[in-house]
């Protein structure tokens, strides 16, 4: 049985300086309730890994607006002008990573790989300060794994064991992030008895805590 967590008990799992993987793609599939609670906790100096910087009032944008983010690692920050402003003024450290490389680095972190070789970013500033490896006369960038202290993910249906299914394009980064953190907390849109074992997107062994959005079956 997966452990249920009350929103107001989330704070125990947060601390200054921690790193957090945040699911979602332009806030589609982002666990907003959990983010609201992190805003309330006011923990500082966070390193956030997310596809993007959300919007000013939505997704990880709320953490950025509350000046809780020391470093943001993302593929895109174009829809959050405040994030761009903090990047320009160097008040927030922003590392931009190609989206596929970001997904694959997180997957490597969750899969025990020491890294992966990709041609994405070769001959661009993305290769700066990275090892270039030659395989069959082709040059590849060695991209290293990403892991974090915590992953917060958004499941559409989570069963009593913690097995998780996402819905439509809310899936995005959630499954890889669920594998790459020391602790995983999921926001559940619906709790159900049991999911079809052929259709589980994230096996229960990855999900440590579930926060119910509403009661349902």
């Amino acid at each position: 049985m997966v452990k249920q967590l009350k929103l107001n008990a989330l704070e125990e799992h947060l601390h200054d300086g921690m790193s957090i993987l945040v699911g979602g793609f332009m806030c589609v599939g982002t666990p907003e309730l959990i983010i609201d609670e992190i805003v309330k906790s006011n923990v500082k100096d966070l390193t956030i890994y997310c596809n993007d910087s959300g919007f000013e009032e939505q997704g990880v944008g709320k953490l950025i607006k509350n000046n809780q983010v020391k470093k943001l690692v993302a593929s895109h920050i174009g829809l959050n002008p405040y994030a761009g402003k903090l990047m320009s003024s160097q008040e927030m450290d922003v590392e931009l990573i190609p989206q596929g490389t970001l997904a694959e680095r997180i997957r490597a972190g969750g899969s025990g790989l020491g890294g992966i070789l990709t041609q994405t970013g070769i001959n661009t500033i993305v290769e700066k300060n990275k090892q270039i490896i030659n395989v069959n006369n082709q040059s590849y960038i060695l991209e290293t794994p990403i892991r974090a202290d915590l992953a917060i993910i958004y499941g559409n249906k989570i069963d009593q064991y913690g097995n998780t299914m996402y819905r439509a394009t809310t899936r995005n980064f959630n499954p890889v992030m669920a594998m790459a953190a020391d602790k995983v907390i999921a926001q559940a849109r619906h709790m159900v008895q049991q999911l079809d074992p052929e259709c589980v997107h994230t096996p229960h062994i990855f999900v440590d805590y579930v926060i119910k959005e509403e009661d349902s079956d």
Binding site: S75, H76, L102, R107, P175, V176
Partner: protein, 219 residues
């Protein structure tokens, strides 16, 4: 042509690049318009890097489902036969060469097939999103863009802005013509008869190889 007319014209011409069964990824902006002009006698499969294949038209009020979005975060629909997957799978599809064609906008393209579409030094940097993976991974890279930006050509000998990728562009389609890049040389395949060849050359910094170009046909 107004700027909007140019965009529609370019989108219509790009739509004729596809063949039945193609898996295609359309970038944000002008490339998104291409979906409106796919010939009715072919079926193509639109991939969206946030996690679906089978991108359908924009929903109306009755079909709106906020969980189904495109890579711009906008609501879309899923066609019958389409399916969802996660970001790692999505970029395995892209990087693995399983996308036949990607259509992207650009700030600059050069005659070696390099492109620059993600950074203007001194301005806010939005990030490359999935563009770098798409141009490295897709079998064919088509740049769809207006030929000039504020009177300046965007087709150069060498890009001056930081690159998105080197030597990856196969075709450029603008309101002036259709250009192909082969072995780091730029060829004019088709020209828009609203322009003279001299006008097209003048609007193109790159060396342009012209050898029996056809008239650009847009339906």
């Amino acid at each position: 042509m107004t700027r909007q007319e140019k965009k529609e014209f370019i989108a219509k011409r790009v739509a004729r690049e596809f063949t039945d069964g193609d898996v295609v990824n359309l970038g944000i902006g002008l490339p998104t318009l291409v979906a409106n002009y796919i010939p009715e006698d072919i079926t193509i499969y639109l991939q969206s890097e946030n996690g679906l294949i089978g991108l359908g038209p924009k929903p109306d009020e009755t079909t709106l489902d906020k969980d189904i979005t495109n890579a711009g975060g906008q609501p879309v629909t899923l066609k019958t036969g389409g399916m969802y997957f996660d970001s790692a799978t999505s970029f395995a599809i892209i990087r693995g060469g399983h996308v036949d064609k990607t259509v992207l906008g650009s700030l600059q393209v050069d005659e070696t097939g390099s492109l620059a579409n993600w950074i203007i030094p001194g301005k806010l940097v939005p990030g490359m999103g999935g563009a770098m993976d798409l141009v490295m991974g897709a079998k064919e890279v088509i740049i769809a863009m207006t030929h000039m930006n504020r009177g300046k050509t965007k087709i150069l000998k060498r890009c001056t802005l930081p690159l998105t990728a080197k030597n990856q562009v196969n075709k450029i389609i603008t309101e002036m013509g259709v250009f192909e890049i082969k072995d780091q040389k730029l060829y004019l395949l088709e020209y828009n008869k609203d322009f003279t060849i001299e006008e097209i050359k003048a609007a193109t910094e790159a060396d342009l190889i012209i050898h029996n170009p056809k008239e650009m046909v847009v339906y």
